[in-house]
């Protein structure tokens, strides 16, 4: 193994990434959840940067830069402003059954590793052992969206899902072709602006960003 230090660093970052998703599953305060999301963006861009340095793939460095700008600077600023304007700063969400969710999460991780292990053997990247972490992040974020009821937290789940996808792409194939990356970045940005519009509309119509209450308005 030519790059033992870098490899263990990337593995460490992968472990931290998994920890952040587990934190998202259990945290009650919305404000803290956005902080966790910022941390996740930081971890993702750092690991992309290291993989880029070691492999010599220049577009990964560029992607690490885009990730940093988008996930650590732009989106958090948008989200924090939103929280501030909607006065959700101190809001607490009731998370049901944290132990059950955690245990389910552990099984999800085991399952992801089982699915990813043949892929890891075939991959030629230096960080091939982490494809399972990427898949686990994707599936755990899915769990976040399922267990959360508030609009803001569901969006954070979606964004974390997207982080998991980027992490998988970096570790399995050194990222996707440039045109795809740019398209994805654009869609995420537009999507987040859309969340903003939705937040205000939901706020106007329902006073509170609670989707559980919305569901009761259905009759059909």
């Amino acid at each position: 193994m030519p790059h033992p230090l870098e490899q263990s660093l990337i593995a460490l970052l992968g472990g931290l990434l998994l920890l952040t998703v587990f934190a998202m599953l259990s945290i009650r305060r919305i404000f803290s959840m956005i902080r966790i999301f910022v941390l996740q963006g930081l971890i993702l861009s750092a690991s992309t940067f290291i993989v880029g340095l070691v492999s010599g793939e220049k577009h990964l460095l560029f992607q690490a830069f885009i990730t940093f700008i988008l996930k650590v600077v732009v989106l958090p600023v948008l989200l924090f402003r939103l929280i501030h304007r909607l006065r959700l700063r101190g809001d607490v969400e009731v998370v049901l059954n944290v132990p059950v969710t955690m245990v389910t999460g552990i099984f999800v991780v085991i399952f992801s590793y089982a699915v990813a292990s043949p892929l890891s053997q075939m991959a030629m990247t230096i960080s091939r052992g982490l494809i399972g972490v990427g898949l686990a992040t994707v599936l755990l974020s899915f769990l976040v969206i399922l267990t959360r009821r508030k609009a803001v937290t569901q969006v954070l789940g979606l964004l974390s899902l997207e982080n998991g996808l980027l992490f998988s792409a970096t570790n399995a194939t050194y990222g996707m072709p440039m045109i795809v990356e740019l398209g994805v970045a654009l869609d995420v940005l537009v999507g987040t602006l859309l969340f903003g519009v939705f937040f205000f509309q939901i706020r106007e119509s329902f006073e509170k960003l609670d989707l559980e209450r919305l569901e009761r308005t259905w009759e059909d």
Partner: protein
């Protein structure tokens, strides 16, 4: 050239309408722009007939016998929908539903949805296809929430979150596909070009491709509205404006199913046993059964017909799942006829619910008294969607049954029962709505008759006898889809 002009027309119109979308001339210009689109799609078809495959933008975009069918359909139905939208919007403005800002948003997003569908259909790069599908989701979410009622916002939210999750699964499938393709085609943009993948598809790693197909199927299946991920579809249809429902049912579902087909071609060749087809078959059946039994007790008319869209998508999935030339041909025809019939149905019930100021079936009465043309058209369209001869869906369902009886006779019986149930429920509802005395007030928009008439005449004429060039063309496409197996 035709490809680039087709994409630039809706993109430029979207930008234009974002600024001036509230001017009185905009609805007509909107219709004219989509008409230009339709004309250029015919030019493109001419090029495809001559050259088989036409490329543009350094090979990132292309047109071949498969996608040209859907491109022409998109051109045609977006034109008729834009014509219908003129009368629809006028009515809504008289009711005071739309302000200037909403009008700008509506027209701009209408063109944006058309643009993203065309980009998805025409992209050779599967990554670009993914980006286009995501763009379609985002722009459609704006259309669905345009009335700003609590229900429409919730429907748009549900659409957004469910499809966001779905499309993310498809992206994981894309990563896996790139992972397998990179070994054969080398890293870089070329490894996601469908035409390049088509050349090496038998060498792609079967294990990776089967995983990739499953992820793609979950993601794109959500967009098609296949059970169990169909929850967003009735809400999105019922709460959005009617032109958006017509586009969604008539075109967007097709684009998603088309994307699954592209992946299926690659997966079939790589995996060497019909896993992709079996998955489509199983979920197609599940979809038909669940959709048909959800038709009971629907009291919202747009919801009723959106469940019927789910059912028909299931039928098309069954057709592609069976495989073989006859079934694939039947499924392609089914998608075409369903698009034409279902969008005309949405035009009809959309206007009827504008008259009655409600979408509740129980309160929509007397359409035949109010406007004989509208009432008769609704009966005709209702029969057409149920597969009554001589309409097109009868022909495609007949072909499908013929193929199904050869391969899975028991499933044919199940499908027959489902279709019979759907027949009873929908026909009863349609007859209830057209009959009755209390004629609702409200004008009959004269311009809106044309789209309904065009669709119904096309479906009837093509159902009676498909011209040989269209038949050969569809057969050639089915052959092209399966040719490489």
């Amino acid at each position: 050239m035709a490809i680039l002009s087709m994409l630039s027309i809706p993109l430029l119109s979207a930008c234009l309408f974002a600024v001036w979308g509230d001017r009185p001339w905009v609805p007509r210009v909107n219709a004219f722009a989509t008409f230009l689109l339709f004309v250029s799609s015919l030019f493109l078809a001419g090029e495809v007939v001559q050259e088989h495959r036409v490329f543009a933008l350094y090979g990132q975009l292309f047109s071949d016998p498969l996608n040209i069918i859907f491109v022409i359909l998109t051109g045609l139905i977006s034109t008729t929908t834009a014509i219908y939208s003129v009368g629809y919007i006028r009515f809504e403005m008289e009711r005071g539903q739309f302000g200037a800002g909403r009008l700008r948003l509506y027209h701009s997003m209408f063109q944006m949805v058309v643009f993203s569908m065309l980009l998805g259909l025409l992209s050779d790069n599967l990554g670009l296809l993914w980006v286009a599908l995501e763009t379609a989701t985002l722009s459609n979410a704006f259309l669905i929430s345009i009335y700003r009622t609590p229900k429409s916002i919730e429907a748009a939210w549900k659409y957004f979150v469910l499809l966001g999750v779905g499309i993310a699964q498809a992206f994981f499938g894309l990563i896996l596909l790139y992972f397998a393709a990179e070994r054969e085609l080398g890293p870089g943009g070329n490894a996601l070009l469908w035409t390049q993948l088509d050349l090496v598809k038998t060498h792609l790693n079967p294990m990776v491709l089967s995983l990739s197909f499953i992820f793609f199927f979950v993601g794109l299946g959500t967009k098609v509205g296949l059970v169990p991920l169909h929850g967003w579809l009735p809400d999105a249809h019922a709460e959005g404006p009617t032109p958006a429902s017509a586009i969604l049912s008539g075109l967007l579902l097709n684009v998603a199913l088309y994307s699954i087909l592209r992946i299926k071609v690659l997966a079939d060749a790589a995996i060497k046993w019909p896993m992709a087809g079996d998955i489509l078959l199983v979920f197609g059946f599940l979809t038909v059964v669940v959709a048909v039994f959800s038709l009971w007790k629907r009291n919202d008319v747009k919801r009723l017909f959106s469940y019927s869209s789910i059912e028909h998508m299931g039928i098309a999935a069954i057709g592609f799942g069976i495989g073989g030339e006859a079934a694939t041909l039947a499924a392609l025809l089914h998608l075409t006829f369903h698009s034409l019939t279902k969008s005309s149905l949405f035009f009809l019930v959309g206007t009827a619910s504008q008259w009655c100021k409600t979408q509740k079936i129980a309160e929509i009465r007397g359409i035949l008294v109010h406007s004989p043309f509208w009432g008769l058209s609704l009966i005709v369209a209702g029969c057409a969607i149920l597969g009554v001869p001589p309409f097109g869906l009868f022909a495609s369902e007949f072909l499908l049954f013929k193929a199904l009886i050869h391969t899975n006779p028991w499933l044919a019986v199940v499908l027959m029962v489902c279709l019979a149930v759907a027949f009873g429920v929908i026909l009863k509802r349609v007859l209830e709505m057209v009959s009755g005395e209390n004629a609702p007030p409200g004008p009959v928009p004269s311009l809106s008759r044309a789209p309904v008439l065009i669709h119904l005449v096309l479906v009837a004429v093509l159902g009676v006898g498909i011209p040989s060039f269209i038949w050969n063309w569809y057969q050639g496409t089915a052959h092209y889809l399966l040719g490489s197996l």
